[in-house]
Subunit: 663 residues, 2 copies
Amino acid sequence: MASTSAAPEIDKDLMARLARTIRGLAIDGVEAADSGHPGMPLGCADLATVLWYHHLNANPADPGWKNRDRFVLSAGHGSMLLYALLHVAGYGLSLEDLKNFRQLESRTPGHPENFVTRGVETTTGPLGQGFANGVGMALSAHMMHARFPDLIDHFVYGIVSDGDLMEGVAAEAASFAGHHGLGRLIYLYDDNDITIEGETDLTFSGEDAGKRFEAYGWQVLRAHGHNVDAVNAALAEARGDLDRPTLIVCKTTIGFGSPNRSGTSGVHGSPLGAEETKLTKKALGLDPEKSFDVPAEDYAEWKRAAERVAELQKAWEAKLAAADEKTRAAFLAHYEQKLPDLKALRPASGGKAVATRKSAGAAENAYAAALPWLAGGSADLAPSTNTLIKGSDSVGAGSFGGRNIHWGVREHGMGGICNGVALHGAFRPFGATFLVFSDYMRPAIRLAALMGLPVVYVFTHDSIFLGEDGPTHQPVEHYAALRSIPGLSVIRPGDDEESFVAWEAALKRTDGPTALLLTRQNLPYLDRANAGLAAADGLERGGYVLRDCESDPKAILIATGSELHLALEAAKRIEGARVVSMPCVETFRAQPKEYRDAVLPPSCRKRVVIESGIRQGWHDIATDDGAFVTQETFGASAPAERLAERFGFTVENVVKTAQELLG
Amino acid sequence: MASTSAAPEIDKDLMARLARTIRGLAIDGVEAADSGHPGMPLGCADLATVLWYHHLNANPADPGWKNRDRFVLSAGHGSMLLYALLHVAGYGLSLEDLKNFRQLESRTPGHPENFVTRGVETTTGPLGQGFANGVGMALSAHMMHARFPDLIDHFVYGIVSDGDLMEGVAAEAASFAGHHGLGRLIYLYDDNDITIEGETDLTFSGEDAGKRFEAYGWQVLRAHGHNVDAVNAALAEARGDLDRPTLIVCKTTIGFGSPNRSGTSGVHGSPLGAEETKLTKKALGLDPEKSFDVPAEDYAEWKRAAERVAELQKAWEAKLAAADEKTRAAFLAHYEQKLPDLKALRPASGGKAVATRKSAGAAENAYAAALPWLAGGSADLAPSTNTLIKGSDSVGAGSFGGRNIHWGVREHGMGGICNGVALHGAFRPFGATFLVFSDYMRPAIRLAALMGLPVVYVFTHDSIFLGEDGPTHQPVEHYAALRSIPGLSVIRPGDDEESFVAWEAALKRTDGPTALLLTRQNLPYLDRANAGLAAADGLERGGYVLRDCESDPKAILIATGSELHLALEAAKRIEGARVVSMPCVETFRAQPKEYRDAVLPPSCRKRVVIESGIRQGWHDIATDDGAFVTQETFGASAPAERLAERFGFTVENVVKTAQELLG
């Protein structure tokens, strides 16, 4: 499919002047901070200027415009390039902000943070992540275009570096983008032959990046990065192919303009210093005596560029207004993501033993039917993770109308792409795999938590009780490891009804990611009404009294997920034992002290925590007088029942542990 | 460089008979367990038989032979293929073992575990890891060949799957192998067009794997996986190019022989069932009434194959015996890895403020000079991690005599390759990056811990105090997350002398991996002798009393790494305060109770833990009566001093916290 975008006419002198100013600002920001990376902004100023001035349809006056082109600076260490562009382009980032580069509470942190700076589309810095985020934005754009062809037809642009391309997460995301034909994705590759340890030759140049991307199914173009005509033409040509993402390989000189340090690794991550700054400014035709200097003409020129886009947005607003009401409402619903009364949609308990991966799958399906903006899939484990949205199509090359995304065996790519989908704003993404493989995607989970993105992770096969696959597949440390990430909700439901509420909690959360930890194996049915157990809605507070004793508790059994039923059975044999279900300990810790003390009375310190993972992080709940039935070593390959005996996850052992405490 | 290995003559009928037996064993093992993956063994039996019978120079009678070819089953779910081969080839794995597939304490766990089963070279299952391990084995082989050309000239073979090739870790390792020209690496790619969710078409086939590997610099050959002549010829041709690793793309039919399920995703991970097992055996020409059936001729044939290799080993032993004594001793030293008195080699303290990344770099260099088998490098951060071995060459294409390995921006690949190097046994590998990027390589660290491999990780920039790079680069949860991995030693030294001892502890550990957590910023010099502080050797017990008070302690300040000096300064202002340095809490927990109680007397429960990470995992050390000066949120971009004030890492705040405890 060809688009009709011709290359705009450009004024090379103007581009050179604008780029020169940006180079000056980048140098000055790094010098003022005495910290930062001047090499990349100097090397990429030319191509970035052409892109931002002539091609990027983003409106500084309204950075939230839904059909704006997205720009991703995957090489986030080049943040001063982005800040300089945001300043001149009119995003409201002041010269004062630039002078405060890398200072506490400034709007110009060391790496771009989308939650700090207006106009920054994603938080980048950890290499390869921005690359994957852009793939997610483009995926979402294609999916929205399939639904609303008149309303979403934008592109996603980015600048990616050698380091990005070396990262596995970028390889996975590139493979996904190529296979899925994400033609709305266009990356400029800053091919400068330099990495931190020296020339890429040391470790990378044997590889032909262009050929690799062709193998992924990308369109690969080449343009010298300091030849603005060539970059301009390549960007237009890139848009001409809507069926393939495009990599434009741009040879650049790192630290361009620095007489003594351009083309060396020394200019990558260290300020130029006063002397070299002067020499560089002189070489670039800037006044060496001035800093943070922006000619008035530059502002006027960038205003003209902004006006061009403002017109585009105006036309788009008119189109949205002219759309029939149903279309408009459906379109906006994707961005508002309002929830109906989920409880009313909640599936009924089947009244029998079931794995939480199955009940969670039922809940996901029940809610997905009412939430057209919920989309996702599994890293090639859908039959095991139970995450397929029934009745919905697969998202595939040339067909973006469905909601089932096949991430492939690419957990890390999945995580990074989910972040991009969430950032794009039109879909709530979920990604599924076995819990043990959450390790593969951890850097992306961390960034979701840092950015506060409401991504949902469905992690099944959540304990040694997956059984025969053995220790390589059995999570043990993963509960603690995930809970350690600030801002990530980790929920491990203990029966079918808790699974339903867990999905609801994940959907209700809008300010950060949630991980659902689900069993492979069946768990007993808890007949809550007839057995005098509390309702599963208690999960919303993180932990709750599931089964109480007659008088003040003498002992408290605290359990999560597949160990909950052990606690219940054990409690029947221990006088004065209360059972607390604690599916989300972080949420519980955030409750008012009153509530926490009601669930875990300070007077009762004989507490047993039961969870098939390491105890790390549970000690404060158990207290110094508590005990643990936990899993401190790697598991083993065997049927689940044998593992339960071997590692002490039996009612008998829980009873024994509690009775030893009680003396 | 061409090698002279011609293709051996093969008997196609024999190959077919041997493969048929292996298929029968694989089916029977999975059926007996009622669990496992029959598809891959059925699909790969032909190519594996050719490889093992005619090409793999490994001696079942001596699986430890140093110049043996290595075999890596990266697609570890096909473990029954490997177990069947180990059985018939004579590795001492009995039919009884095969019948106990996936049972508790059997020698045939669900995925291959090198620490359980004789002849298994590495633990595989998590996709992509085996691929990277093989790269590490080949790297080590090339490095040994450069040093001892007459003694090490073996190859590394492996079977890799679609799933392996989709993983980023394999992409990184493949790029490394191609760039470094690891011609001793030969992988058979089981190209069966099927993954768990269905046909690879869903998510992968747009990509041309062969072309991608050519872009990485690999030799790419093609051979139909059921044509033993073609596989045989390709294996010989692969060895002909010693400068490039080889990928042999083998089209196979997953579940080959199963009339109703071959070529489908249904045969990947589920037993065939009784009915289809019979039909399959019939189709393959096996007796459907027999199970675990191995014709006597098969054993005789495989014995012949083993005799061929035993002759090779005999010749090799003669060569080793004939080598001059110096060469032989130097060769064996690589495998014995005996340590001299490290303390005697320990650098002297510089007597001034220094970053632990610098002092650790000095220690590494001091020890490396005496340990020719220590080799490693950084993931493109050597100037920052201070890990370069001075006076040693870079390991590069065609030049393997050095010890400085440039991993490139490939943390995960680095982790997986380090595991392979350690498994190969001739080098002690280390890998370095910023602590925050330990997340990128976590699956490989986990496998090092599970396998008990003595890999050393050098993680610098270990806290928010790296400063201006901001929260994307600032570890906060990583101390807890790493400590959660069973068997990983995490050491965070607090001054230059502790850095030296930390490296010694890492080198002394032979049964598992060690992570060194090191600062970017300078730490004050601790004048131990003159200030009445204990010697840094106390680190060997995990934690020790660094500075005691006159009488019984009223309060204990417990700190690690860059927070140790805060504890020391604060203690001067608190009456009765003891300072405990706790660089490795796992090691401390493993000490006898007596020692632990001497360091942390149970009578003194007013304890303050000071560490610039989340408190998770410290509560048992602090007790219910303790307090924390820790970092519970993500950091921020600013100079380190500003962050210290902002987040409370000041002497004042430590004093205040302790005094509040003391009331």
